[in-house]
Subunit: 253 residues, 4 copies
């Protein structure tokens, strides 16, 4: 039986006059598009356009929810209380839902962005708030996240489907956490290395950690980055390499 993997990337991260990344090129590669919902990036016009293009290509639409922080692009942790956070997430889900259904699609999953992504790895109250919003929106909405995160634990607790992801170009520690961006080895840029790692993650469910040991992973989705120069091209080659190595690239939702 052929192994199967989903490829996800962030899209729709411009705002008004400002653009970021090459959405069209990424949408030609990925099977799942994390669409920014307007709180940290994205605006209603961009959301409609990206949803329409995702639907045209058969790409699944996910809600890239974040803190209310356009000035910080959602990358600054905010001590928002759980009731407000849940409301903020629900609001974003609904806004994207309207854009997606107007384009003939739907919101197929949720994936937090930036500082919220990192915070709900460990912070129970915020993780529970995100999950409460997801469940209130759709009690069978898949949640895409980091293995062993508080987010996925809370999703399991309330019966939401969970989807594990791995990062194509990030260094791992032996305990499964990511090498922080402030340290060497956090981000891999060599194309051959990245594609080889991704193929091994998917076929053997192993990745080499920064101490040289092998780490077991079991991703159903691989996160590709889209906002660096050459990112779309690297994403395209990663997909090609997976297919050349007998991997079926297919959305999870």
């Amino acid at each position: 039986m052929r192994p199967v993997i989903d490829l996800n990337a962030d899209v729709g991260e411009g705002f008004g006059r400002w653009t970021l990344g090459d959405d069209d090129a990424l949408l030609d590669v990925v099977t799942s598009a994390n669409v920014a919902c307007g709180f940290h990036a994205g605006d209603p016009s961009i959301m409609r356009r990206v949803c329409a293009r995702a639907v045209e290509r058969g790409v699944r639409i996910g809600a890239q929810v974040g803190y209310r922080d356009l000035a910080g692009f959602g990358r600054r942790e905010i001590d928002v209380g759980p009731v407000d956070l849940a409301a903020d997430v629900l609001y974003q889900l609904g806004a994207l839902h309207a854009c997606a259904t107007a384009a003939g699609g739907e919101v197929a999953y949720l994936r937090p962005h930036g500082a919220l992504y990192n915070r709900v790895v460990w912070a129970d109250a915020q993780a529970a708030a995100v999950v409460e919003a997801a469940r209130a929106f759709d009690d069978s909405l898949p949640v895409l996240g980091l293995p062993d995160s508080a987010l996925l634990r809370h999703a399991v607790r309330v019966g939401l489907p969970t989807v594990l992801e791995a990062f194509a170009d990030r260094g791992y520690r032996a305990d499964g956490t990511l090498v922080p961006r402030s340290e060497p080895g956090a981000v891999l840029t060599d194309e051959a290395e990245v594609t080889a790692r991704v193929i091994r993650m998917v076929r053997e469910r192993l990745v080499i950690a920064d101490d040289g040991s092998d780490l077991w992973l079991s991703p159903r989705s691989i996160c590709l980055h889209g906002d660096t120069p050459g990112a779309a091209e690297l994403a395209r080659r990663t997909r090609q390499a997976l297919q050349d190595n007998g991997v079926r690239v297919e959305a999870f939702a």
Copy 2:
């Protein structure tokens, strides 16, 4: 057969730390609540709370959509292009939809707010944009607005149900337009006069215009104002007067 009328008012118009009007008192009186959707007023937490209370009381939830202008409370006309305006309205509809359905309700109608309300009385491009968004969201969504407005004409054109409203406390001209707020007679404050006018509007479908002539109206809903001191009490008495005069107060949607 008893005449029937809906009573609508704006609610949920606070933002964060700031409150406006007495939502709970108004929700005890109206049959339809125009809930602000976060672009000119309202925030996700307020929207969830107001939706929950509306559902508890059996009050219908409408989308009070407006320009993206918190600083101006949506009261300043903005030359937003039709594509962006439609996307902004769709986004707001979706956001409210998520809050309403999470509370066990639904978005039952759309009513523009403030400067957008006034603009779509005459401006075809913006009226068409609002209607496009409403139809994209739900192709049977009722649109509540001013008789003879471009908004309702466009709604009719695409097959959306339209609902006519009249204003309890605003002066009318003989041609059916409102006396501008900058002129005397724009706003009526005498309780007996307001309730008498409302009863006559509903029972006889007539209101006296500012030139003394009788004007024919055919409202299915009466708009009550909620953000002035004593507004909720005036609303309560208006409802009581209607019921005392044999009028059935009932939502249109």
Copy 3:
């Protein structure tokens, strides 16, 4: 020699259509007005109006700087980096400077608001950032804050004047920190108790802590709260009680 004290309070904390507190009543009582600068509350029109009224009454204008978070009223801690935070604070100082000088006044001091106030009590990087901005704006700008805070330490380090404040209605612990708002005894509401405490703070430089011990304080300013019902009246009586007890009420700057 008569003891002297400044009274400060937050003013100008509305936004657009929304108001908060009774600015005019507070400006009749305080000697220093902490004017919100538009990032967490306040807008340019409010700032001009409040500055004009402060100048009319001889009240000193201080910059109530905060996180960029209107939705959270600046009460949510944000992990903004020091370079961005310093720029945000400098921007707010300049904006208020223009409003104050246009009214014939000036920015006489800086006082952080809300979550930023609490954070710079202990967080060196953010405290240093606020101080860098203050110094870049005016290298003799007084900084008003909590005794023993990182904020005042950094201000001293770069040669800015520091001004110590005490709270009229907050409970203290024996170590000089405030009783957290989540605990009993955090906020005092009995008028007689509040005024007696304030008089003792100013005349004897002592306040009773929550364990019954006496705590030494040396405030040059007392912070009065303005956004609760009856706040302006309590402020007025506190000022009267101070004057009746031989204290001179006078701004520090």
Copy 4:
């Protein structure tokens, strides 16, 4: 006597994570930098950085003030009332003043942006509001704008210096107004044509209008555009062509 001209361009028009144009390249060419002040583009960190680089290069700093509309990049006309508009402009002037003076510079002039620029060509109330703010900020602040505009008329009325500008790459009508962007001939892209026009504008004070007639202009500054691909290079060549033709390139303020 050698003719003299200033070259101005918009800079600092990014926001947070988003960038726009090549500020560094433009700052190497222009003598006056119109720095966005945070209401339609720009943020405090960008403003500080751009001001520092302008000061290093001896480029004069101007306040590029606009409507409060990040989502629309200040390109949508807003019916903001004159009191609020004046306050918004004063706030922006003060914010930039703090950034400029912290960098060792100053705000040397004001130039409205986008829809506000176009509106104050004809709208008296908004033009008077912008001028009121400029005067309140600094009663000798030069105002840069379109000849015959309401803006400059009001500036003259209150005694502010006015500076006339012409556009390097925009088509003109015989009456001196610009060909609207929606019409052919609105924007010129041929480098040789653009530089030849600019040299003629400066040396002969003439430009050919779209009906073939000669139009008299008297610019003290030429506006170069910076946000299109190749814009900085075209700006550089325009400056070079001016200097090669005996024109002194020098700021007006």
